[in-house]
Symmetry: C2
Subunit: 389 residues, 2 copies
C-alpha cells in the first residue's frame, strides 16, 4: 500500500533505464489529488547537498506540493549547475503533465555521486509513469520498489488516525548517518492539516526516528523526507495525535532501514540511561553505536563490553558527566559490567538473535536515549568495495 | 635496536604466560641506568583509562622514572581497585629488583579489557626479565616483540642528534583513534635534558604524530607514550633540535602503525589544504579519514571522490568555512573533483600501490593538515569479530 493507502494519492513505479540493473524499476512518482496540496520536507544538512535537494528545498518552502518524482540509479550530487538544471527539468516535465508549475513538484534522487543523470531516460520515465498513475495497492508497491538501491526489500508503513490515514515508503540501507539517515522517504496522509503543522510534526517525527539511526556513520548528500497531505478524508487532525502517528510511521520506517542495513547480521539497540539530559544520553549512545570495533564484535556474537565502555569513555565529561566507577552495562539483559568492573560472565549472554540490546546506566541522572545501529560484517565491506554509490 | 640504541638503557623481552598464545614473548622491561632518570609521559584521554595508565600517570608526574614494565596479553582496564593493585605490585616487584621506590617504575598493559592479569605470571615474568636485561641490539629487539598484540611486525626507530641518540618502539594496529592511537610507545635517549623539556617536547611530538593517525576511530583505554632520558651521552640537547628529532621518531612510529593497521591493504594520506586554520584542516581531514564508506571504496581500489566530499560536507561551516563549489579533490594526483563537480575521469587513477594520497583543497585560506588512516577490509572485520581486545 505505502503511499496510496491514504485517500487522494496516486503513484507509479516504472523502469526508466536509469539504473545499471537492466529492467529494474527506477523511477517513482506520487501525486496529490487534493483537495489540499499541503506538504513539508526535511533534508540532509550535508554541505554538499545534491541538486534535487536544492531544488526540492525551494519547491516545498511555501508548504505546498502537487507531486514528487523519485529516481534510483543516480544521485545527481556534485554535478553543478548542469545537475540543478536536470532536477528543474524533471520537475517541469511532471508539472506540465499535471498542468501545474514546476515549483509545485519535488524531486529526489539516489545512487552514485558525481555523475549526471541520463536525462532523456528520466524524462521518458516521467512520461511513462504518468500514464501508469493509479490509486491502487499495486501502484504504491511499484513506487516503493522503484526507489530501492542496495535495499533488499521495499520498506513501507500504513497507520490509521482518528478518521484519517497515513502511509509511507522509504529507501536506505547504506550511508546511514547520525543526523538523518541516507534515505528518501515519502509519507502521505488524507488528514486535513496546515502547512505549518505539517512542517512542525515532520521535524519532530524525524528528530526521534531517522535522526536516531546510524548504520555506518556516513551522512548522505541526498537525504530527503517529504510529507504530503491531501485532506481527502475531510477530517481535521488533532495536532498531538497527528505528530504521534507521524512519529510512529517514521520510527517504523527508520527501524526497517536498520533491519536492512548493508550486510548486517544484527540490529543493535543502544540505550543509555541515568544521564543528566536526553542530549547527554544520545551523545553517549551515538559514541557507542559508532564504534567499528564493537560492531565487529557483535558480528562475531561477542558481547565485548570493553568496546562499549572504551567508546563511552571518549565522550567529554563536560557533555555527559558520570563516574566511570558507577557505570553498568547490560547486554541482552546480562549485567556484564558492574560499576566499571567485570560483572556477570559474558558467557551467559546469548547473541544468536538478530536483535541485540545494549543498555548502559551512567547513574548520573534520570534521562535516557536510544540509538539503533547495525553490526559491521564482512558483507558490508564487500558491498561497499564493489558497489559505487 | 629500538630502546637500547641510546646509551644508558637495558631491555629484555620474555614469555611470561600472560598471552593466550603459548610461548609468545609478552613482557618487556626497559631500565634507565643513568646518570639521569628524566622521564615524560602522554596518556589516553579516555575516561575509562586502565589501571596501568592511572599508575603510570602518577609515577611520571615528578618527571623521573628508573624503569618501565610493559605486558601484552591483557589490558588490565575496567578492573577496579584490584586492577590498580596489580599495576602497583608489578611496579613494586621491578623496583625492589632495582633497589628503588615503586613510584620510580611505570607500567603499561595491552590486550583484552575487563579482565585481571594473571599476576603470578606477571611477577615471575618481571623476575625472569630482570635476569635477561642487556644493552644489546637483541635485547631491544626482544622488548619490541614482547609488546606486540595483533601487530604483524615489531615497530622501532633509531635517530641521531648532535652528539646524542634516540631509539623507540611502539605497538598498535587496532583501536587506533583520532586522539592518541591505541598503542604503547617507549622512546629512549641519552641526551641531557630537563624533565620540563622532556614533557614539553613529548607533548609537541605526539600532537603532530600519534594524534594524527586513525585506523578505526576507536580510542583505547590504555594509550601510553613514555620518554626516558639517561643523559649518558653527556651532551646537552638543543631544545628545538630535540623536539624536532622526537617528532621525527614519533612520526616514524605512527606511520608504522598505519602501515600495519589491522587487515589493511592501503595506507591513506588525507591532506586538506586551503583551510582557514590548521585546526580546520585537521577537522576536515579527520572527517574524511573516518568514513567507513570511503575506506571500503579504497579497499576496492575505487577512487570514489563522492565519499570524500560527502564526508567533508558533514563538517559545520562554523568550524571550516568554504564554498562547496570551489572544492577540488585529487586522488593519487588526478583531479577527480574540480569545483565541487566531476573533474578528470576516475579511470585515470591507479590505486594498486599501498599508499594512497587524497588531497582536498578548500580554497578558503592557506593552512593545511594531514591525517593518516587505513582502508577498511574484510580482514579487519575478521580480526575484530574473532579477536577479543
Amino acid at each position: 500500500m505505502s503511499v496510496t493507502y491514504a485517500q487522494g494519492f496516486a503513484a507509479a513505479g516504472v523502469p526508466a533505464g536509469i539504473s545499471s540493473i537492466a529492467g529494474k524499476k527506477d523511477l517513482a512518482v506520487v501525486t496529490n489529488q487534493g483537495p489540499l496540496d499541503v506538504a513539508a520536507g526535511v533534508f540532509t544538512s550535508n554541505r554538499f547537498c545534491a541538486a534535487p535537494v536544492q531544488w526540492s528545498r525551494g519547491a516545498v518552502a511555501d508548504g505546498h506540493l502537487k507531486a514528487v518524482v523519485v529516481n534510483s540509479g543516480g544521485a545527481n550530487a556534485c554535478t553543478g549547475q548542469a545537475g540543478y538544471d536536470q532536477s528543474a527539468r524533471t520537475a517541469a516535465a511532471m508539472a506540465s503533465k499535471l498542468g501545474v508549475d514546476a515549483e509545485q513538484v519535488a524531486v529526489a534522487s539516489t545512487g552514485l555521486i558525481g555523475e549526471l543523470l541520463p536525462l532523456d531516460n528520466v524524462l521518458q520515465g516521467v512520461d511513462h509513469a504518468f500514464g501508469q498513475l493509479a490509486e491502487s495497492e499495486e501502484a504504491g508497491s511499484d513506487a516503493s520498489h522503484a526507489i530501492m538501491t542496495t535495499d533488499t526489500n521495499p520498506k513501507t508503513v500504513t497507520l490509521d488516525g482518528s478518521g484519517y490515514h497515513m502511509g509511507g515508503m522509504v529507501k536506505g540501507s547504506g550511508m546511514i548517518a547520525p543526523q538523518l539517515a541516507t534515505m528518501i522517504c515519502v509519507i502521505t496522509t488524507d488528514a486535513v492539516i496546515s502547512s505549518e503543522q505539517a512542517q512542525q510534526s515532520l521535524r519532530e517525527a524525524t528528530g526521534t526516528s531517522f535522526d536516531r539511526i546510524d548504520v555506518d556513520g556516513c551522512m548522505s548528500t541526498n537525504d530527503t523526507v517529504l510529507l504530503l497531505a491531501s485532506g481527502a478524508s475531510g477530517v481535521e487532525a488533532d495536532a498531538k495525535e497527528f505528530t504521534s502517528l507521524l512519529s510512529q510511521a517514521c520510527a517504523s520506517l527508520a527501524r526497517q532501514i536498520v533491519g536492512d542495513g548493508e550486510g548486517s547480521s544484527h540490529d543493535v539497540n543502544v540505550t543509555v540511561e541515568g544521564a543528566i539530559s536526553e542530549e547527554a544520553a544520545l551523545t553517549c549512545a551515538r559514541a557507542i553505536a559508532g564504534s567499528n570495533l564493537l560492531k565487529c564484535a557483535i558480528a562475531g556474537n561477542d558481547p565485548n563490553w570493553g568496546r562499549v565502555v572504551s567508546s563511552l569513555g571518549t565522550v567529554p565529561e563536560s557533555v555527559a558527566p558520570y563516574d566511570p566507577n558507577e557505570v553498568t552495562v547490560d547486554i541482552n539483559g546480562v549485567r556484564v559490567c558492574d560499576g566499571g568492573k567485570p560483572g556477570e560472565s559474558r558467557s551467559l549472554v546469548t547473541m544468536e538473535e538478530r536483535e541485540v540490546t545494549i543498555t548502559v546506566n551512567l547513574h548520573a541522572g534520570s534521562a535516557q536515549g536510544t540509538i539503533w545501529t547495525d553490526d559491521l560484517t564482512v558483507d558490508y565491506v564487500h558491498i561497499n568495495s564493489d558497489y559505487e554509490s
